[in-house]
């Protein structure tokens, strides 16, 4: 099991808010609602026997002496795409389980609030909703095969992503952040980028003469690592994530750096400081 009962209890208390991008207006937050008919009026339609008589507009009947029933907009479940990054960089750094667990936590929270989840798995998107959705999504996340996918490989399926995207990743792109950025940017999506990092990422315990092999592009780099090199590495890493953060601010996206060694409660506090998760 990716999530324990306690974890689910904690996640049940988490509120979820869907962010929407409205043309020429700042990004708005909409609270999630329970499933039910929408109250938004759409159109009139001539009453046919068998319809719910509660929908008959009696005022109009008084005016026109004809029975009309009101049509309401159908309430659609908000849909969020969750992308658990199980690329080689994640597998090599031993974050596979953490990514799966955190993705499951996000999916649970979304499904618990009646939303639909689209999960990116094996280069395609599966849709999950309803109470039964959790069992299926949990099962599928558990079965996800790490190391065979690349974040860039979601480009053919990128167009089928929903407007709101949650990415659980280490956000490492050896060949550049550009392609991934473009995929997410399609159709003005709103993204929540969750960077799962460990203390080893911040300060790797390496020294001496090493031949470093890049997990993503198989390139090698002969390198002598000492304390000065580690200091430079830390600076370059900080600069890299700072660039991503800046891009997120520019695009109205969210960037959250989550320490995977923390408890789930603390991790949730990082991504939802006021108890509300904005996706």
């Amino acid at each position: 099991m990716l999530l324990t009962t306690d974890d689910m209890m904690i996640l049940s208390g988490l509120k979820v808010s869907i962010r929407k991008r409205i043309q020429n207006k700042p990004v708005m937050d909409f609270a999630s609602r329970d499933i039910g008919d929408s109250q938004e009026f759409n159109d009139y339609q001539q009453f046919t026997p068998g319809e719910n008589i509660r929908h008959i507009d009696w005022n109009r009947y008084m005016r026109d002496s004809t029975l009309f029933s009101r049509r309401y907009e159908k309430l659609e479940r908000p849909e969020v795409t969750v992308i658990p990054d199980l690329s080689r960089s994640v597998v090599v750094s031993g974050k596979t389980k953490a990514v799966k667990r955190f993705s499951a936590a996000i999916c649970f929270s979304l499904l618990n609030k009646g939303m639909t989840v689209r999960l990116f798995s094996n280069r395609s998107f599966e849709r999950y909703s309803g109470k039964s959705g959790w069992q299926r999504v949990h099962h599928d996340i558990e079965l996800l095969d790490g190391g065979n996918t690349k974040m860039l490989s979601l480009s053919p399926a990128a167009s089928s992503m929903s407007k709101n995207v949650v990415v659980v990743s280490d956000l490492i792109f050896s060949d550049g952040f550009g392609q991934f950025k473009e995929n997410i940017n399609i159709a003005n999506r709103l993204a929540l980028l969750i960077n799962l990092s460990s203390s080893y990422d911040h300060e790797p315990d390496l020294n001496g003469n090493l031949k470093l092999l890049d997990s993503q592009n198989d390139k090698t780099l002969p390198c002598y690592i000492d304390s000065r090199m580690i200091a430079r590495y830390k600076k370059c890493r900080a600069d890299y994530y700072h660039q991503i953060e800046k891009h997120c601010l520019k695009m109205d996206w969210q960037y959250k750096d989550v320490n995977l060694e923390d408890s789930l409660q603390n991790q949730l506090l990082t991504i939802a400081p006021a108890g509300t998760l904005y996706v």
Binding site: N209, L213, S215, Y240
Partner: protein, 321 residues
């Protein structure tokens, strides 16, 4: 062979150890451990920034090479200890009074011009006349020497000529070729003329001077750099007496120098000093000291130092230690 006080075996051992360390480090460097990392992106950037920090990024290798070359140059420079000798500048004042043996004076002046880098020729009789300046060629100096004619006046104002010579170039050596029989006070007056780096040297060239042999002897003694040992006529005469007594027929060479030196020290505490030719020869040696003073063992010492520096540089560059 001794290398700056160290025996050759010691130098060979040091060179072997340092080369051994370098070679061993090189092979150790070849044995790198492979490690898969999530990305080499940050490491690559870190290495690039490291290179940038060393010395101006891409120029670092060239600049480091230049630095090493400069270091080697300075090491060799300090070992060779070259003395950049100033130009040998002479001002020849030829006294044209009848007492001067003008033919000898001209001959002697030509010899001095030949040996110097730059020469001013001044003739002094009734009037003082500057024939050439420092920038003129030797040929013009020779021509002007040939043109000098004897004056009718029995007295020449040497002091005035020396003053003018000092105005012409205060750093040049002034040599007076005169036949005047100057007494001690007159000599002192001439020598102590102010404003010059050197005291003028007076070479007596009287008409009645006995023979070419002694003339040269006196000239050598008076033109000696250590003039203080032969500062008066008596001392110069003493040298001449010694030469006559022992009937030297050869003026140069180690045998002559050695004998005369030992005789002088035994007789009056005087030390024989090198004659003009030898002095000038040595000064030209100084100017060529870049190549001539290079000793083989010192060069090897420099090479060993260079190799050590190179080794430190390579170790630093490839971070072998």
């Amino acid at each position: 062979m001794i290398f700056n006080g160290f025996p050759i075996w010691f130098v060979i051992v040091i060179a072997a150890i340092s080369s051994g360390v370098l070679i061993a480090s090189h092979f150790l460097k070849m044995q790198q451990k492979s490690l898969i990392v999530p990305t080499t992106l940050f490491w690559r950037k870190a290495m690039e920034s490291s290179r940038r920090d060393v010395i101006f990024g891409k120029l670092s290798s060239i600049l480091t090479l230049l630095f090493l070359l400069t270091a080697v140059f300075f090491i060799l420079f300090s070992m060779l200890a070259p003395a950049i000798a100033p130009l040998d500048k002479k001002i020849l004042i030829i006294d044209t009074c009848p007492a001067t043996n003008l033919a000898e004076a001209k001959k002697y002046a030509r010899e001095l011009v030949q040996q110097s880098d730059r020469a001013i020729v001044i003739s002094v009789g009734q009037n003082t006349r500057i024939h050439t300046n420092l920038n003129d060629h030797r040929q013009s100096a020779f021509a002007s020497i040939d043109k000098i004619i004897a004056s009718e006046s029995s007295y020449s104002n040497l002091e005035q000529a020396i003053k003018e010579a000092k105005i012409a170039d205060p750093h040049a050596q002034i040599i007076v070729l005169s036949g005047q029989n100057l007494n001690s006070q007159e000599r002192l007056d001439v020598i102590s003329c102010p404003a010059s780096d050197y005291a003028p040297k007076i070479i007596p060239l009287q008409v009645h001077f006995p023979g070419e042999f002694q003339l040269q002897a006196k000239a050598y003694c008076m033109a000696d750099e250590r003039f203080e040992y032969c500062e008066n006529q008596n001392q110069a005469d003493l040298v001449l007496d010694l030469i006559a007594e022992h009937q030297f027929t050869q003026w140069q060479g180690p045998e002559f120098v050695e004998k005369l030196s030992s005789m002088l020290e035994g007789r009056s505490g005087l030390k024989y000093r090198r004659p003009v030719q030898e002095i000038n020869k040595n000064s030209s040696q100084k100017r060529l000291s870049f190549s001539l003073n290079l000793k083989f063992d010192k060069a090897l010492y420099g090479i060993v130092l260079f190799l050590l520096l190179l080794e430190i540089y390579l170790i630093k560059k490839h971070k072998l230690v």
